[in-house]
Every structure is written in C-alpha cells, then in structure tokens.
Symmetry: C3
Subunit: 207 residues, 3 copies
C-alpha cells in the first residue's frame, strides 16, 4: 500500500467520523450512521475516480475503505454523547479530513498523467464533495457555504502548494505534506483566528 492509498485511508476514516457525528445530530440508527459515514468518506474520492475514469473506483477495488468507514461510524455511535460540542468537533475533524484529502486528489490525478488545471480541480473535488454531500443530505448548511470562512480557498491553496512543491523538489511525500499543511493551516486560521479572504459583501438586495 503506497502513500496515496494510506492517505486516502486516513481521510476516509476522518471524514467518516464527521459523517457519523452529523448522523448523530439526526438521531439515526447504527446503519444510518454507517450510511452517512460512507457517503461522506467515499463521496469525494468516488467523484474523482469517476471523473478521471480510473480503472476501478477506489473502494470497489479495495473494500478495506468500506470497513474503515464503518468502523469509524460504530465508534462514533457509542461515544458521540461524551463530546462537549459536536459541532465544534465536526468542524475540526472536517478540516483535518480536507487537509488529508487534497494531496490525495492531486496525487491520484498526477499519477494518471493529468495536467495542472485538472490537478487543482481534483484536489478540490476529492476534498470538498464528500462533506458537501453529507451536509446537503442531512440538511445542514454546507460548511463550504459558511459565509466568509476559508474552505474552498484552503483546498485550492493546498492543491496549488502541492503542485509548486512537486515542481521544485519532485518529491511526492513533500508535496503531500505541503498541501496538507497549507490547507489545514488556512482552515485552522479561519476557524480559530477568523482569517478571511476578501468576500463579496455589498449590501445584498436579496431579490
């Protein structure tokens, strides 16, 4: 199992935790936890693999991912009530999962010979679509739409960092590390320090 597969496994696990936590807010049963956990954990990578027409979707080629997501869901099912603030936990775990998923998306696309605009898009697709599906299905305000937070921006910057570092040092691990650090750093700064990109903030006529 290579670096990309390991990182994919990690992002599946952490995304599954966030999915199960959102499921706990909906009072689902244990299979419902697993369902939402799988949707969240596999959603982004599945879109990436379908779009890139990989030989096989990653979790069909290797069902270990399903087992990992299911384990995360069961874990949350029995422990979520101990958390002090589920929403806060969801936001931070989601930031971690996004930071891991960005280099996976870029790396998979690179290994298939894609060019840089596609690398950027696949970093964002892999990192953002799982959480987006989770929030849309569970009728939460998508984290990616939380006004003025860095989210898509953090993912895009991480993907760009990955591409730049790889251009310079041609090392996959360093490129992945750079992507993870940039993404998580920006997202963390946004969550805890209120960092913002200049947002669109003219008086909204809402008409």
């Amino acid at each position: 199992m290579n670096l990309l597969a390991l990182l994919d496994l990690a992002s599946v696990f952490v995304f599954a935790l966030t999915g199960a936590l959102v499921a706990s807010r909906q009072q689902l049963d244990i299979v419902g936890f697993i369902f939402i956990a799988c949707l969240t954990a596999m959603g982004g990578g599945t879109a990436r693999d379908v779009l890139l027409q990989r030989d096989e979707v990653f979790w069909i080629a290797n069902p270990i991912y399903v087992a990992v997501a299911g384990t995360a869901a069961v874990l949350v099912f029995f422990t979520a009530h101990k958390l002090e603030s589920r929403m806060r936990t969801i936001i931070w775990l989601d930031a971690l999962a996004v930071a891991i998923a960005v280099p996976v998306g870029v790396g998979v696309a690179r290994s298939l010979g894609a060019e840089w605009p596609v690398l950027l898009m696949m970093g964002m697709v892999t990192a953002c679509l799982g959480g987006l599906a989770r929030d849309v299905v569970c009728n939460e305000v998508p984290l990616i739409l939380k006004a003025r937070d860095l989210y898509a921006t953090a993912a895009l910057a991480g993907a760009a960092a990955n591409i730049l570092v790889y251009e310079v040092v041609a090392s996959r691990p360093f490129a992945a590390l750079a992507a993870g650090l940039v993404t998580f750093g920006l997202r963390a700064g946004s969550i805890s320090l209120g960092w913002r990109a200049p947002g669109y903030r003219h008086e909204p006529p809402r008409s």
Copy 2:
C-alpha cells in the same frame, strides 16, 4: 429479458410512481412529473452502473426503462388527486420499490464478479440513492433520515439475506426473493408496527 432486468423494470416503475407523487406535492407540470419520476427511478441504478463501470448504464442500453418511468409519471399525473393520503402512499410504494431494488443491486454486482462487501454496498446504493435524490431535490425530509425508522437497515439486511441464501442454495431467484421479503418485512414492520433498531438517542446538545 432475464430476472434482473425484469426486477429492475419493476423497481423503476414503482420508484417512478413515488417520484411523481412527490412531484404532485410540488404542483409541477407533466414534464416536471416525468423528470422527478426518472430521477427517482433511475438514480440508484445509474449510480450503481457508473460505480461498477458497467458496459452501459442500464437505461441507456435499453430505453424501455425511460418509457416505463414516463408512463408511471403520466398515470400519477391524472390520478394522484384520488388518493386519500399521498404521503402514506409514497411511503408504502417506496418500501416496495426499495425491496425490489435491493436484489437487483446485489445481483448486478454479483454478475460482474464483485465480492461481498461490494454486493452489500451495491444493494444499498441501488435501493437508497434514487429516493434520496428525489427527497433532496424536492426539499422533503429524506425517508432515509426519518429518525428511528428502519430504512438503510432494511436494505442492508435484505442484501445480507440475498448473499446468505445464494451461498446456501446458489439460486438467483430464491436469493432475490429472500432479499425482497427481508427488506419489505423490516420496512413494513417499521412503518406499521413501529419496529426500531437501537438508535442514537442521548440528549442532543445540538451545538
């Protein structure tokens, strides 16, 4: 036309009825009925075929499915007002459609040589994603999220029953029958007798 294709046709028809009934709650015109009916009826099977990278998506290989879903939509367009309770009809027809779709999903995956974790997932994907798309698009609370109802659980149990029976008797029709009965039985017990899986029910801090 083999058993799987026939069952797929049946689930497309019944899912299309539920989609059109939801469309009637939104006061759409007849093409709107057909659109939502097709989304509901073809959604799950399409996801399954794309994920499994089948040679062709089932309704593109054979447009009869589109015709069947459209017919169901037209039927509902002219008769929905005669129903006493549309929501109740939607719930029961959806239960029937899910029960038919589970063995189709498992069967298609099996015919492509997939292993059992993938069989389980494809049973759930085929059975659950069409109704989920219907509810998300039409802004209804997804049936799969109705707190404490058996839904994903019923589909998963049905898929497991299919796999077990097939292991024992190696008969596709019996395996399909077992899957349908288990899924519908659990769902029906949940709807009419209030059967529940142990749900997550600790005081939700909702924060």
Copy 3:
C-alpha cells in the same frame, strides 16, 4: 474546435455567471464563487459524459472550460453589486444557458450514436442538472421546481425540435438553432408572459 464544443463553451460561460450570482447571494469569497460557478457550469455536461461513457469528461479533456467558468466567476465577483435585481438576472441568464445546453446534450449523444430516447434524455440532463446542483447546494428553491413555470418542458421541447429538424434537413447547425430557439422561446414566454403547461393543481392535502 467544432460547433458542439463552441456551444458547450458558451453554455459553460453563461451557467457559470448564474452560479456566481447565486454565490453572491450567499456572501462567499472569490474561490467560493469559482466553486459554485464550476459546479453549475460543468454539472450537466459532466453527468452527460459520465452517463454516455465518453472517452473523457469534456472539461478534463480540455481545461479551457475551467478557465472560462473561473473567468465568469471573477467577473461576477466584481460586478454583481451593480445589478438592479440579481434574481431576475439569474433567471434570464439561466434560461439562455439552458437553451444553449439542450442542443449540446442532444448533439453529443447523437455523435456517439445514441437513439432518440437517449437524445431526449441527454438534452435534459445537460441542460437541467447543473442548475439543479447549484440550487440544491445553495439551498435555493430549484428553478426547475418553481410551480407551473415551463422549465423541464422547455428543455424537452427543444430536444424534440432538434431531433425533428435533424431528421428533416440533416443539418447540425439548423438542428441546434431550432433547439435553442424553441427552448428559449418557451422559457421566455413562461417567465415574461406567464405561459404554462397544464399543471397538477388539485387541492393538495399535503399529508
């Protein structure tokens, strides 16, 4: 670059404008604008290409589409506040984008040798799914569900017009023109003159 690719480019640009305008109603930052613009602009065509199992998804084969959608998003980011009514602009631009996308969907399916039911479906898929994704993700009432407006109906009629004209004169440009005019004409009549298809309008028991 042939006629279909050019039309696809035009529909991507116009759909991206609508996506960015919806993003402006959500007060996102500039990358959020680009994200929603790409989702809207590429959503329908991506679904079409995945369903038809084209050799490559159009915007992966040629990243110019991503650049065009991004440019449209940036343009809107700096100018949206000058609009008198964003909602009205969104509705009209969306009508234009749908009218352009219908012949693209039909044309791509035809170039792959699909039969007429699939041509009809692909016209609708290409034209309707991007805007639907935009509205579902941004928690707007999907334009396609606005009760009693012609939307899916306009797309379906446009696709049918394309097929008929192509049968008669075997000219791709004329068929595309007919599709665009019929779709936009019906949609425009619906928006400004209140044209309706007979809708389902029995007293809704909402139960």
